[in-house]
């Protein structure tokens, strides 16, 4: 026993140093990730249908930062500063937020195929948007985004109601989410087929597939606040999410308030997702694939998984959005198409990896 103690003690003596080192490594990685994100944003704003040289972009950014005062053509300045830059930031926010919500859903529901849209939110948002846009409900006061947000929350409310009626618990939530998704998808289709002419259908299609066109600085503020607040909240629940690895009973035995934790995280996910979807439409695959990719890189512990998913998601979306802008220039490609085109091969690769080791 004594020799064992001695061994433990010398190990313990080494422990604080290595822990500090580990924390520093994590901190450095996060910093590196943020720098990479900023670099990505900087490069993404040089891409687009409008012909703007790299030097012009540099001048425009420097002007706005107060560093220089070089005369730049007004329209080019506006394109870079009022459109491409806010768009890149919203793309980053969407990537981070949807990835984050994907992590929560997959860990909370213990389902590797879960994503933020499993709660019916994107379908509800679509119904809300077409109800405003095609049926003309609510007059001009609520825009498409407002309608989408309301629709998203209604769908989520239905999920909560259905899961409670059927006894509560995780698998009930999933089933309720499936039911809600189907219902609102059907309603969306009904409205489009019954009431929309071809012009309106085209207009709605962009929105349904996820589009960052028309995004401006006020959208940045909204998305940034929601995603940052959401990330902080989720980090606080990192341990709780770890505890869910072996199911709710084990989590409860580890001291987690299962019902309360589940409720808070579901509501947070719903609000973050509803906000992002109402700004940018239903961007698919991000919430599903990115958590898996991040898990491959940093492992399953949520203290690292959450920031990693957020950063990877942000960088991913910035590049996919830039690509959607230039792929078929000047015709814009809905960014949701881009995420699917990139996301599906990635997902297949991830599945293959799982199969190989199973």
């Amino acid at each position: 026993m004594t020799s064992g103690d001695t061994v433990m003690n010398s190990d313990t003596a080494r422990r604080p140093a290595s822990r500090a080192r580990r924390a520093t490594i994590t901190g450095l990685l996060v910093l590196a990730g943020v720098i990479l994100l900023l670099v990505s944003v900087g490069m993404a704003i040089t891409l687009g249908p409008a012909d703007i040289l790299l030097v012009n972009v540099r001048d425009i950014v420097a002007n706005h930062l107060g560093v220089t005062d070089i005369p730049v053509k007004l329209s080019k300045d506006a394109i870079v500063w009022e459109e491409r830059l806010p768009r890149a930031f919203v793309a980053a926010a969407c990537g981070a937020g949807l990835g984050l919500c994907g992590v929560i859903m997959q860990s909370l529901l213990r389902n590797p195929l879960a994503d933020p849209f499993i709660l019916g939110i994107s379908s509800g948002a679509s119904t809300g948007a077409v109800a405003i846009g095609i049926l003309g409900l609510g007059g001009a006061s609520i825009g498409l985004s407002g309608g989408a947000f309301i629709g998203a929350l209604v769908a989520f409310g239905l999920v909560l109601l259905l899961s409670r009626l059927s006894g509560g618990g995780t698998d009930r939530v999933v089933l309720a989410g499936v039911a809600s998704t189907q219902l609102f998808s059907a309603l969306t289709s009904l409205i489009i087929f019954a009431f929309a002419d071809s012009d309106e259908t085209r207009g709605v299609m962009f929105w349904l597939l996820g589009s960052l066109e028309g995004v401006r600085w006020d959208d940045v503020a909204l998305c940034a606040i929601v995603v940052v607040a959401g990330s902080i909240l989720c980090l606080r629940y990192a341990h709780a999410l770890d505890a869910f690895a072996f199911g709710e009973d084990v989590a409860a035995s580890l001291g987690i308030h299962v019902a309360r934790t589940r409720a808070i995280l579901l509501i947070a996910t719903a609000l973050i997702t509803a906000t992002l979807v109402s700004v940018a439409g239903a961007i698919g695959f991000v919430g599903l694939v990115l958590p898996h990719a991040a898990r491959l890189l940093v492992g399953p512990r949520h203290g690292r998984l959450i920031p990693a998913t957020a950063i990877i998601g942000a960088i991913f979306m910035v590049w996919v959005d830039a690509g959607s802008r230039v792929a078929f220039s000047p015709t814009p490609l809905p960014v949701g198409v881009g995420t699917a085109l990139v996301g599906v091969p990635v997902f297949i690769a991830l599945l293959a990896r799982r199969r190989k080791r199973a």
Binding site: D249, A252, G255, P300, R301
Partner: protein
């Protein structure tokens, strides 16, 4: 003072699953919970751990009503290992054991020195110290159970509640696991199927039938042919092995 159950009953969906059970393990003891399927062993363990509230009676921890003790505090005193814990996550043995430190951690704090010490100790206890980097899905049934026990030990509990932990293990691992459990300095309540193993390893046994306690005491006193016939419905022969100090039960075909 430890976890006590006083006349607890639990009603699930209209059926009385636990009926007036009183259980007062002595500190450091290994208590065996016996009984056929459906006798309420698993449910009793859940009630004891505070996962569900009893519909009658009281569960106390250090004399305080369990329902009024905070969950994290309970988790620092009581730890459970169930039969079927499984996960899809690619989690290492070390990280599994680290989960046991969650009740001791707060908020965003990472691992402290105390946490890592507890984890190392728990791994050493179950003999997985050199397997700490292996992934869950590569572990055998016995190794998985041991990892879960290590996780429970990392909680540094005073009480350990085990629900048929030896069910899916081969005989060697069954014996190794029970050796390990009995050597632990914590109070253990273990639901177990195998009467002989219970006789070998438990200080006291409590026999349940239809949610009620039908007998409690030392294995030598409780496990009689009459009781076994009554509770399990089989014919058995019980010989008290004075050399080993515990009864040996043989069944006839």
């Amino acid at each position: 003072m430890t976890l006590h159950a006083e006349h607890v009953s639990w009603n699930r969906g209209g059926a009385l699953v636990v009926d007036g059970v009183t259980l007062r393990p002595e500190p450091g003891q290994t208590v065996g919970l016996l009984g056929p399927n459906g006798s309420g062993k698993s449910s009793l363990l859940r009630v004891l751990h505070g996962l569900v509230k009893p519909t009658a009676g009281l569960v106390t921890l250090d004399g305080v009503d369990l329902a009024s003790v905070g969950r994290r505090r309970i988790a620092r005193s009581v730890a459970s290992v169930t039969q079927h814990a499984d996960t899809d996550v690619d989690i290492t043995v070390r990280d599994i054991v680290r989960l046991g430190r969650i009740p001791h951690r707060s908020g965003l704090s990472g691992n402290t020195a105390a946490d890592e010490t507890a984890v190392d100790r728990a791994l050493a206890h179950v003999g997985l110290a050199d397997q700490a980097g292996r992934l869950w899905h590569t572990l055998s049934g016995g190794e998985r159970q041991r990892a879960q026990i290590a996780r429970a030990l990392a909680q540094e509990p005073r009480e350990l509640l085990l629900d048929e932990p030896t069910n899916h293990l081969d005989i060697r691992h069954q014996l190794e696991l029970l050796d390990l459990v009995c050597a632990l300095p914590v109070t253990t309540v273990i639901a177990i199927h195998d009467l002989n193993l219970a006789a070998m390893y438990c200080d006291t046994v409590v026999v349940l039938r239809a949610g009620r306690v039908v007998a409690a005491g030392a294995p030598g006193e409780v496990l009689t042919a009459a009781l076994i016939a009554d509770v399990y419905g089989v014919v058995a022969e019980v010989t008290l092995d004075s050399r080993r100090g515990h009864p040996v039960i043989t069944f006839t075909r």
